[in-house]
Amino acid sequence: MNKRTIITVVGKDTVGIIAKVCTYLADTGVNILDISQTIVSDYFNMMMIVDRSGAQKSFDDMSDELTLLGEQIGVVIKCQREEIFDMMHRI
């Protein structure tokens, strides 16, 4: 099964957002395949494509913990399986 997950981070830009998210992922055994970011109307938008095949935590737990981490930094972090984007944007 496809283990690729998209993590998005949206919020006001501050120091260390990427560092904190990456540290969490490294600790969880999640491999980052790609990172891109952009600023849309003053908001920091980041997207990570990650591979969860070596992950030590379930999708649910990772998703909840990232949401919590986002709240601490003051940004919104979302985890979604890649399929939804593939379905919508690729024929």
């Binding site: 891109s36 979302k78 939804i84 593939d86 919508m88 690729r90």
Partner: protein, 454 residues
């Protein structure tokens, strides 16, 4: 590989434009629950529903979490109960027992609605059909989440005018039985012409006899997404307009297809169809009327509305058909009044009348939906409204429906509050001239000439 703009576009649709999967509906056949003993029949019905749909809600929530897409409703539809209860129900009260069983089972599995308290009488009524129909007012007042539907006609069979006349009375009676609740019972009761067997939307969902033992049907939604896409092409030609709707419908439907396949796999129940309907909710921005305004109308109901709706409906289908392997149900645009803030605004501004809504139903899926009318409207007048709508469906070989609420104790100028997804509605005036002699003729209207295709 997916790029950041595509990801942001999808998430924008979900977060700001109300993109959601409106419903995952499990259709369950109850034909194997038939028994000549009412108690045994109820027991079998309860057990079957609570077994087959046991994990529906949980599965829905899991999918929501994995893809970050809201799934608003989880529902169950069952074989028309008139067929299931035929062997054991000797009175309307017996049928009410079955309705209560459905209600209990639905609460047990945690779904929002259960549909299928239905009878299919497009050509004639059996004794069982008639008993079920006569039990509807009691059943809907004594249950909470049971929905009822009656198919009164089809292109192949014509219109059963005896049943149309009876349903006028039944709708009035249902309104009376639930008058403390603003005649809420009528919001759970719909009559059809050409009812589809695989519709996932309430109140008209039932599991047709042509279906498998259990099936997953999914209804997608997203009027807000279409409207936002159209905002970007203001002033452009019809070609650009239509292309934009088509592309957006494709994207919305793909999400539905993904959710349907996933739910089907997780539950071990085959995937039936995706219903491509644009279904509005009372939430601001989640409105089909707003799309019509974006296409260029001051209000829904203004001249040009029928044409705008026709193109919208057609483009939604064209975009959606390619996105899903199986399309069915009603598929098109819904135009309920109370569930759509733009429609409510149009009625309040005097732009939208019952007659214009009737014209609009010629070109969109379904029909006169969630329309509140004065409580003192005569039963024969309601039958007349139903007959008109059934005729549109019969002649145009499409599904049409009537879900109309005569609000007891209220008149034109007042509003009625249904709450939740059902919204609120201003009470609309009804043409006050009589049609008693027409409705009371009895018998049926023959099938139209173009139904003879054999």
């Amino acid at each position: 590989m997916i790029n950041i703009h595509e990801v942001l576009e999808t998430n924008e649709m979900i977060e700001k434009e109300n993109l959601d999967v409106r419903t995952i509906t499990i259709g369950i056949s109850l034909l194997d629950c038939i028994d000549s003993d009412l108690q045994k029949c109820c027991e079998k019905v309860y057990n079957k529903i609570t077994t087959v749909a046991e994990n529906l809600v949980e599965t829905g929530e899991e999918i929501e979490k994995e893809y970050g897409i809201p799934i608003v409703n989880k529902r169950v539809s069952v074989t028309p109960i008139a067929l299931v209860g035929g062997a054991c129900c000797k009175s309307p009260e017996d049928y009410v027992e079955l309705a209560k069983t459905l209600d209990r089972a639905a609460h047990k599995v945690g779904v929002n609605f259960i549909g299928g308290y239905s009878a299919l009488v497009s050509k004639g009524m059996t004794k069982a059909d008639e008993l079920l129909i006569r039990s509807i007012p009691m059943a809907l007042s004594q249950t909470e989440i049971v929905c009822s539907s009656v198919n009164l006609g089809s292109t192949k069979t014509g219109i059963n005018m005896d049943a149309v006349r009876l349903m006028g009375d039944i709708i009035k009676e249902t309104a009376e039985y639930t008058k403390e609740n603003d005649s809420m019972g009528c919001a759970k009761l719909v009559v059809f012409c050409n009812a589809p067997d695989d519709n996932p939307f309430m109140a008209g969902a039932f599991h047709g006899v042509t279906e498998a033992d259990a099936i997953i049907n999914v209804g997608v939604s997203g009027p807000g997404v279409v409207r936002t896409a159209l905002q970007k092409v203001r002033g452009e030609s019809f070609e650009v307009l239509c292309e934009t709707i088509k592309k957006t419908a494709f994207k919305i439907t793909r999400v539905g297809q993904l959710v349907a396949k996933k739910a089907s796999k997780m539950l071990g129940i085959p995937f039936g169809i995706i219903d491509l309907s644009l279904a509005p909710t009372p939430a601001i921005g989640d409105s089909v009327a707003d799309i019509l305004c974006e296409i260029g109308l001051e209000y829904a109901g203004a001249p040009g509305t029928t044409a705008a709706l026709a193109l919208l409906n057609d483009q939604v289908k064209k975009g959606g058909v390619m996105a899903s392997s199986y399309v069915g149900g009603l598929s098109g645009a819904f135009i309920p009044v109370s569930e759509d803030q733009g429609m409510i605004n149009a009625v309040e501004a005097g732009a939208l009348t019952l007659e214009k809504l009737e014209a609009m139903t010629c070109v969109c899926s379904v029909g006169l939906d969630m329309i509140a009318i004065p409580g003192d409207t005569k039963a024969t007048t309601i039958s007349g409204i139903i007959a008109d709508e059934m005729a549109i469906g019969m002649v145009n070989q499409k599904t049409t429906a009537v879900r109309i609420i005569p609000v007891i104790g209220k008149g034109v100028g007042e509003t009625v509050e249904f709450g939740g997804l059902l919204g609120y509605a201003p009470i609309m005036p009804v043409n006050s001239y009589g049609c008693d002699a027409f409705v009371n003729r009895g018998g049926r209207i023959p099938a139209p000439i173009h139904s003879f295709k054999n």
